[in-house]
Symmetry: D3
Subunit: 165 residues, 6 copies
């Protein structure tokens, strides 16, 4: 792993890293995040889902669409041609709340960690938006990279309990 | 506080709430979030900042720009004319890591909670992006609404330790 | 004011109409469109909808999000602050296919016909996209303004059978 | 042709199809659409065109620019690197109205049907926008895929009179 | 005129200025810019224009569309509801080249200088793009604010020969 | 060098050039531009920079982000996967003012001149925006292509003093 912040130039200024000489390989990243809420908020979302799935379905679409715009949002991210992005949102009764997991894949010169993390973040924000009228105290936490494969820097797998939580 | 998910229609489908009859008032929202990391990662970012401020400066700009695009990212958010958005990023040695705080303000018919939360989220993602080469195990947590004033639903102030964490 | 600029349009070139002196009123527009398909394609979409609602739910979200970006897509449309946008998608066995209806509303200086029409168009395109693997011969037709209220040019209501079909 | 809706997962949820293993080939799609209007509206547009071409020229540019943003509008479309997009707009006295044809091409892993259809749709909407002050009853119809070459699913050519009309 | 850089906070960090307390007034800005080129390049563009107007027409549309996205491009610009944006492109035989003039207008809390300047810049870039195959040595110069009315900071009118050239 | 405007079709209409048959090679472009201002404005920006670097840092980020959106702004530009974009902003006491230089690189089928020129233009506009409260008479000039390598049309190097100034 590099010992320096790769986005800073010799004079410390921010710049996009040159990836022109990197190999085109298949790269996958999985990220996750949590939205914690009151039990009755979770019930209300899941009851809605039993009928029409709209909170979870809308959050999933928002995450997918945000992943495609990662390079517009994160200043030094390279544009890339995502070949796959999928989101999974599952209830977690012990939080209580929802767990969002995103998988991003590309055949390209750069990794897709930021795409997976952006998908998770925007899906969590969308859940917050749709339920905030009943629960303003929801919180988003545990956004982290779970797994990464492909690319020169090697594979990565997070600890089970999650770093930084 | 409303007892129903306001974004769901009579048949449970997702829709933008009609805000046409709401009053134009000044509305402010403050949100925060945390990026936890290894102590040496924090030191590297702050040392860079002592010289040029680029990780923190870039994250601040990314958050401001993302706030303006909230309605493009969150499907059921209304477009609005932000009159102010500011971000503050402070080191927190006990995490260790960085704490991002955003304030959004509008004179309009809808609140700006999502704008403040989106600014915080994208600033946190930008910090992750710029430091991920040295620390893939960073995590983003504690994204929540701290305070909200203006609008019909009344003011809101989160507990000191943060709900949902 | 420049004496040349005031003559723009006199030579026939495209320009945004000046709406600065128009009154701020509540304006509503309803538009509709049809996606015709083979009966088994419609059945497949509706069966999926019975379980998870994803084709229709995804198309509805896509239409809502596109409405907010109308001024980015249609060169001479003014930006505006939509207060409401809703979409309704109903099966029509006689087509056979789906009928998309969108309602857009604003309190502003310009009408929202284009927002309603753009929502309908993108929702229809999304339906096409999600079902094209089973039916490439689907067609989108009957995109038209159904009704319009508010604004100086007066109200408008289309004929029952639709002009131009 | 596939017998299932490829964008729905095992549980019926919407997702981007994984195209990572598809071959990079040259793929072309041609789509068309019609804007029907009153004869005097058509005459007004064509007379303007004889002088400056602005309605048709503006619609053509709008369609080209929209094609490049297809993946931002259609939730489950993959981003891709269009190598060509061209639009042709011809008067059709029998409608009366205008016929828009778009050709999109890519060397990539996914087809460009949606890009061609999006270009046609936005060009038609732009024509509507620029002429709506004189004719609110215009309608957009006949948006369909005319032809498609390249890719694993094989070539496709629509019937002469158009399916689904 | 303010004696400090208004976008920098107390600690020197970049932030959007709070315009919430500013009055809503009609504000207009006119900006201009020049594209200088070889005489034969100018002739080629104008000859094309005599027939179809495409270089100038395309540049005009690009400028209008860019003006609407100014707040997405310039980090600390406020979003606003442009009521008018128009562009004028005239040949200047003495350059030789083209002179682009843009007028932007809003009823709002902030000025529209950046919208007019962004429209001019993108129109000039579009001219460069469309003619670069025959003349890579074109240059864009003289981009400046010509005139500004409305708002608390008072009216402004540039010197005839242009400051800073 | 081509003897015709490549973006115009047989009938003179604007279209994207087909680059499908071009080879994928490494292409680099360097562009530059100048912002001239009063000496005290330059001093104020540089003094700010000595503390926090925010005007220059913000302009650099704005230029990088704009480069990634070039194909959204310039109607006939192809989307491409930038592998590198970097900006350098240096004071020039003789102007007095600031000189912006941008380098763009891609491995692809089209050149990156427009990406480098767009980065320069938006960085210059951002400098103007952040300093306009103290100096409305700033001007942007000398935007031009400095150097270009790779691609079929061959390398290009501008004269030292710059063409078209």
């Amino acid at each position: 792993m590099s010992a320096a912040l790769t986005h800073l130039g010799a004079k410390g200024e921010a710049n996009m890293v040159d990836v022109g000489d990197k190999a085109e390989t298949t790269r996958t990243a999985i990220a996750e995040g949590l939205v914690s809420m009151r039990p009755e908020t979770l019930k209300m979302i899941l009851d809605g889902d039993a009928k029409k799935g709209d909170v979870l379905g809308t959050a999933r679409i928002a995450g997918i669409m945000a992943a495609k715009r990662t390079h517009e949002l994160i200043p030094l991210c390279h544009p890339l041609l995502l070949t796959k992005i999928s989101l999974d949102i599952e209830p977690d009764a012990t939080l209580p709340g929802l767990k969002v997991t995103a998988l991003a894949r590309v055949t390209g010169k750069t990794g897709v960690e930021m795409e997976a993390l952006t998908a998770v973040s925007v899906a969590c924000l969308t859940i917050y938006d749709m339920a905030k009228a009943v629960d303003r105290a929801m919180a988003i936490s545990g956004i982290r990279l779970v797994e990464k494969t492909g690319g020169k820097s090697g594979d990565y797998k997070a600890d089970a309990q999650g770093a930084g939580q």
